[in-house]
């Protein structure tokens, strides 16, 4: 399949879903969607539909995962069987395991874990419907859910992925763009300082293209951060 052959962005810079290069897909946020959890957040982002729920802090079992000096974040990223076009068989999944790990490491950079030594905080990220960028939606939803749960954090984490299609750098890849595109750069940003806590990349980007994608992500993260803050103040975004 010649990926370069599929037209994803036309001569006027309009993508297949009508967006311009720098546009982010529509986002909505709702809090408290898992009533029995200590905190929870649902993020719809394009056709993505993701739920993050928080339980804790609680005693860390099994004992071997306990740390004497701080809490551990027990993060589970999982895709529901009906979340993708082809059904996913439930069970252990290597991709999910890797995403769980890097998501935990991103969140550990902002959660004030030293306040709850020897305990654990469970972060459950469930992808209900997937349409590219689920790890970014999951990470962002998890940070909002942690705030909703009253877990002290020094900042939120906002994550978004940019990439390249038909040699054009664009922000927030959708599913087709992720499949047929030439690069994918997901980032997780701390809005206060612009520091990164999450970074992956695959594909092919020149140094200039890389900077462009980086900048798209940073700018998008600042905008999405405002949506998250509004949701935390009123229970949802948009109203």
């Amino acid at each position: 399949m010649g990926y370069g052959d599929v037209e994803m962005i036309d001569a006027n810079g309009i993508r297949k879903d009508g967006r311009k290069a720098g546009d982010v897909r529509p986002i909505s946020i709702e809090l408290g969607v898992v009533p029995v959890a200590d905190g929870s957040c649902r993020m719809r982002w394009g056709t993505n539909d993701v739920i993050a729920a928080i339980y804790g802090p609680m005693e860390a079992h099994p004992r071997k995962i306990q740390r004497q000096d701080r809490a551990v974040l027990d993060v589970r990223y999982n895709m529901a069987p009906f979340s993708t076009s082809d059904r996913i068989r439930p069970g252990f999944n290597r991709r999910s395991r890797e995403i769980s790990k890097v998501t935990a490491e991103a969140l550990e950079s902002v959660v004030m874990l030293e306040l709850y030594p020897r305990s654990k905080i469970r972060v459950e990220i469930e992808i209900i419907c997937a349409e590219a960028g689920t790890r970014c939606v999951g990470l962002t939803a998890a940070s909002v859910a942690l705030a909703h749960a009253g877990i002290p954090m020094t900042d939120l984490v906002v994550s978004v992925a940019s990439g390249k299609i038909n040699d054009v750098v664009v922000c927030d890849l959708n599913k087709a763009e992720d499949n047929y595109g030439e690069a994918d750069l997901p980032m997780g940003v701390l809005p206060n300082t612009g520091e990164l806590v999450f970074l992956q990349m695959d594909g092919d980007l020149s140094p200039e293209e890389f900077q462009e994608a980086w900048d798209y992500n940073m700018n998008a993260a600042m905008v999405i951060h405002e949506y998250c803050v509004e949701a935390l103040k009123t229970g949802r975004y948009p109203q």
Binding site: A80, P81, R122, E124
Partner: protein, 263 residues
Amino acid sequence: MSIPLVPQLLRSHLRELAQNDQRLDSRTQFEGRDVEIEVGILANAEGSARVRMGDTIVLAGVKFQTMTPYPDRPNEGGLMCMAEVRPVSGRQHEAGPPSAESIELSRVVDRGIRESGCIDTSDLCIIPGEKAWQVILDLFAVSDDGNLFDAFALAGITALRNATIPQEKFELGEDRPLVVSKTPIMCSYQRVGGRFIFDANGREELGGDERIHITLGDDNHVHSLQKGLKGAFTAAEFTELMEEARKKGDELRNMVHALEGGN
């Protein structure tokens, strides 16, 4: 902590409430929580439903795959029903392989739907002996505040009744609705504080004893029964529950049909 601690005080308080015909949340003995059903909520599934009963929230998704028919049933497709109670749905649900409870949940809900014969598996045949449709119903708990059985069963049958076979995607013709000829409804009763109640919430379930799950079809035919957990019940108690299940079953069935707009 996989086996939740049952505070003895909760059990004695539930007993006192039951003796005075009261429940924790002021419902009557056979009164259920408010039920909300929504369909078509999963963009990547061929049929879907979301059910909310109090703070219990579940999702059901229907996906279609092709299969090779079993040699002894060359003209038939299949139905598979799987329920997942993942850690997201409750503090007491820890990560790990499916527990015996969640496997029972899966199988009881599956039997209720399958045994009603509401899906004619010969209607799922594509090429006799070679290819047929497999209908996969996935049930997913979002929030567990008791009575996942009824929530799953209701979401499951609703999703099936609103499912479309994706023939176009598989280049086997035009999309057509999955034919579901009946609406089996499950009603679950649990002995709490000494007497049976309907639709136990999380705390009632924690402090309660044996359960009875009754699935009835449109004509009040009995399609499946299951008794779970420790305890014993009398024939008289069972008769009363069957009567209640008929009434409640009709009510819920009407709710499901109302969503279909003239099926």
